[in-house]
């Protein structure tokens, strides 16, 4: 029998008793070991959370497997994090070590707390999105195959580092505020299928969808034409009109952005900024992307001070040094030319040679 609008399951029925009891009374936390959080309550109660990496895209079997574990050690309670890790919630300290052992034995990867590289927030990619320029899941797998020691705590980093992948400039993962973000981009303007367009697309809507005014009516074909000099390859027109196509397997690729953050700690949230305008789309291992990300992490980790996130490190050393230290070329692509471009131009002689 169908019911409507009854809403999601009520969290109050899904939180373990220790949380029910200590809700809003937690006093402090420590991180006894990578991936394990210990929360202590004003009542003296203690909660351990053991965090494991998840591929996010999971099967029913996965769900049942982690449920089995939660049944064994956590009285059947578990949660996911806002970055798609899974957390086992242990209130009985005696079950902590057995849980960890079991997880390790079953091949789960524990980590991601404190100063570390946590799971990669990402999007659908070729798996499910029609806009995807690249495959997010594949890139995540490749990058984290390289960087997992930073997740497990095997290799230390100066501060937390958040990586995100978006398969197109819609940036569903909120890449725009990540320490490192990997974004699929187009490099050629869309093509119009005149025959398909006529009747199928509303021309005024299509023209209005273009933020740069690059689309104009083509009286000859009764379709539209695109002024290539004005087109910034945003793909917005392709969303409103299916007769306009922008996918280009030869030229589409991946860009890399750095220095964004979300938290208000120390510095205000800030946008990620362009580091590498283009790398080839090279499945299944995307070696250029993987190497670039690894390189960025390594340069940062070697040079940043304790507690300094990517963007804070760049603020301290300056973008001049960032490009120098990473060996990345600074190009015309790095110079903003969108709406607020002039606010990014350096209006002071304060710079480093």
């Amino acid at each position: 029998m169908a019911r409507n609008d009854f809403g999601p399951p009520d969290y109050r029925e899904l939180i373990p008793p220790v949380i029910q009891k200590n809700y809003g009374q937690w006093k402090y936390h420590t991180i006894p070991r990578p991936g394990v959080l210990k929360h202590v309550s004003d009542t003296g109660d203690v909660l351990y959370s053991v965090r494991i990496a998840s591929p996010r895209l999971v099967s029913s079997e996965y769900i049942r497997s982690i449920s089995d574990i939660a049944d064994t050690y956590c009285d059947g309670y578990l949660r996911f994090t806002t970055r798609n890790n899974a957390e086992f919630l242990v209130s009985d300290e005696s079950k902590l070590e057995p849980l960890i052992k079991d997880l390790v034995a079953k091949g789960y990867m524990i980590g991601g707390g404190g100063h570390s590289i946590s799971n990669v927030v990402h999007t659908q990619g070729w798996i499910h999105c029609k806009s995807a320029v690249t495959d997010a899941s594949g890139i995540v797998k490749d990058v984290m195959d390289e960087l997992h020691p930073y997740f497990t705590g095997e290799i230390k980093v100066p501060a937390r580092l958040r990586i995100a992948v978006a398969c197109c400039v819609n940036m569903c993962g909120a890449c725009h505020c990540s320490d490192i973000s990997i974004v699929g981009i187009h490099r050629t303007p869309p093509r119009v299928n005149d025959e398909l367009l006529v009747g199928r697309c509303e021309i005024p809507t299509t023209i209005a969808a273009c933020p740069t005014g690059a689309i104009r009516p083509n009286p000859k074909t009764k379709s539209v034409e695109i002024n290539h000099e004005k087109c910034m390859m945003c793909a917005n027109c392709t969303v409103v009109c299916p007769a306009i196509k922008i996918m280009d397997p030869v030229n589409d690729g991946v860009s890399i952005w750095v220095g964004g953050k979300v938290s208000n700690a120390r510095t205000a949230p800030k946008f990620s900024r362009l580091a590498i305008p283009y790398l080839p789309n090279n499945p299944p291992r995307w070696p250029e992307v993987t190497n670039a990300v690894k390189h960025l992490v390594e340069v940062w980790a070697a040079s940043a001070r304790e507690g300094e996130r990517m963007g804070e490190w760049i603020d301290r050393i300056g973008w001049e040094r960032f490009f120098e230290k990473t060996g990345l070329p600074f190009t015309d692509k790095h110079i903003d030319d969108f709406t607020h471009a002039t606010t990014t131009f350096r209006s002071t002689t304060q710079f480093r040679f």
Binding site: D5, D10, D135, K141, M171, H176, C234, N264, P284
Partner: protein
């Protein structure tokens, strides 16, 4: 079934990080949809291009959204991925589950869908990845039977989501999970029946660490704050210092407003409350010694969103402080005013932040009845192009 050849994807079963390919294969062993998904994905990897078609609206009874229609562009090659719709299932606040709930859901999904999930989607939903048009309705019906309702899509409120907050955090200034639950329930209609120019997202983080990334990815971000002095346990601070914690490098020098100092003589942490901008850093650095203040509420930020198409925005301070007590009527009233104004003035596919950008923040404030405050800006205007309303000036003396 014929042999499954996916040499490119097989590469991604190697390596240490958990493999999504393994997961798809686990599902593919039982489900032809998952199997053709894998085959189509292999093709994408080979050809470097996606294989989903543009458009195609599908739905279920009583709902205007919650389902994203998806069709293969090569149904001949990938017949079982011909229809591969996703169902956005509204997650419980804080992403807490009992294993019972998860198993119930998995049973339904194995019956009607690919057996593949995103735990979770970027907005917060459980994404059930891939089913046919035919299976949609029964699937949604049976999900309802086990207590799962749909999330949002289209020009509607999107599934609100939040950080874990008071369920586990010492720094939670508001009850992020309860707020999320309450507004999700209150706005079921707005969530399920698109009636707005575009999407509208609400996310709740219980403190300025913003673990839900609310300010970056919600049109209305609710972020817990306190407005009195943070609490200092001086003995515990001394313990940090005595244990070799470099309080100057790790804390004092990093306070954005130089609001705290360590008096090495007195062995005391000094706080200039009026300068503290509750950035969280010192508390984060010394969780055993420092705690949030007692007068707690939320800051509301408006306009956060991704780049399409006017450029990305990080939410702007709209209300510096609002008490957040159930049933959150003040908050709901404000949401109503904002969405009414936006629904009236917004163009198709124009986010509320873009509309404010177009119309002006001052006008927006005036229309929803909020006072202009210095907390709303980094700095006042620098250009001299001030607008005056006719009622603010005398009728000019013609000359």
């Amino acid at each position: 079934m014929d042999e499954l050849k996916t040499p490119l994807l097989d590469e991604l079963e190697k390596g240490e990080w958990p493999s999504f390919v393994k997961e798809i294969k686990r599902a593919a062993a039982k489900n032809p949809g998952a199997r053709d998904l894998l085959r189509q994905l292999e093709a994408s990897y080979r050809e470097k291009i996606g294989h989903w078609k543009h458009g195609g609206i599908v739905g279920v009874k009583g709902y205007g959204g919650g389902v994203v229609g998806r069709y293969s562009d090569d149904p001949e090659r990938f017949p079982h991925a011909k229809e591969f719709h996703t169902i956005r299932v509204n997650q419980p606040a804080g992403f807490f589950y009992t294993t019972k709930k998860l198993r119930d859901m998995a049973d339904v999904w194995d019956k009607y869908g690919s057996g593949l999930y995103n735990m979770h989607g970027s907005t917060g939903d459980i994404i059930l990845l891939g089913t046919t048009t035919e299976n949609l309705q029964p699937c949604v019906d049976e999900l309802a039977d086990v207590g799962f309702d749909l999330g949002g899509s289209g020009g509607a409120l999107r599934t609100p989501s939040c950080c874990v907050g008071q369920a586990r955090c010492a720094t939670a200034c508001i009850d992020s999970m309860e707020i999320t639950r309450e507004i999700t329930m209150h706005y079921q209609n707005e969530l399920h029946r698109p009636a707005w120019p575009y999407k509208f997202k609400i996310k709740v983080s219980a403190c300025p660490n913003d673990c839900a990334a609310a300010s970056a990815r919600s049109d209305l971000a609710v972020i817990g704050v306190w407005r009195d002095a943070l609490l200092i346990d001086q003995a515990a601070v001394r313990e940090y210092v005595n244990n070799g914690f470099n309080i100057f490098d790790r804390v004092i020098r990093k306070c954005p407003t130089a609001a705290i100092d360590w008096d090495s003589q007195k062995q005391e942490l000094e706080l200039r409350t009026e300068d503290c901008v509750h950035c969280m850093h010192c508390i984060n650095a010394m969780p055993k010694a420092l705690r949030i203040g007692k007068e707690r509420g939320a800051s509301l930020l408006i306009g956060g969103k991704a780049p399409v198409v006017k450029g990305a925005m990080i939410g702007w301070v709209l209300v510096p402080f609002m008490k957040m007590e159930p049933p959150f009527n003040e908050f709901k009233d404000l949401v109503d005013k904002i969405t009414d104004w936006w629904a009236e003035h917004g163009k198709n596919r124009e986010r509320v932040g873009e509309l404010i950008d177009r119309i002006g923040l001052s006008v927006f404030l005036k229309e929803i009845g909020l006072p202009p405050l210095p907390q709303m800006v980094h700095a006042p205007r620098s250009n001299p192009y001030i607008f005056w309303y006719p009622e603010e000036v005398e009728k000019h003396g013609e000359k």
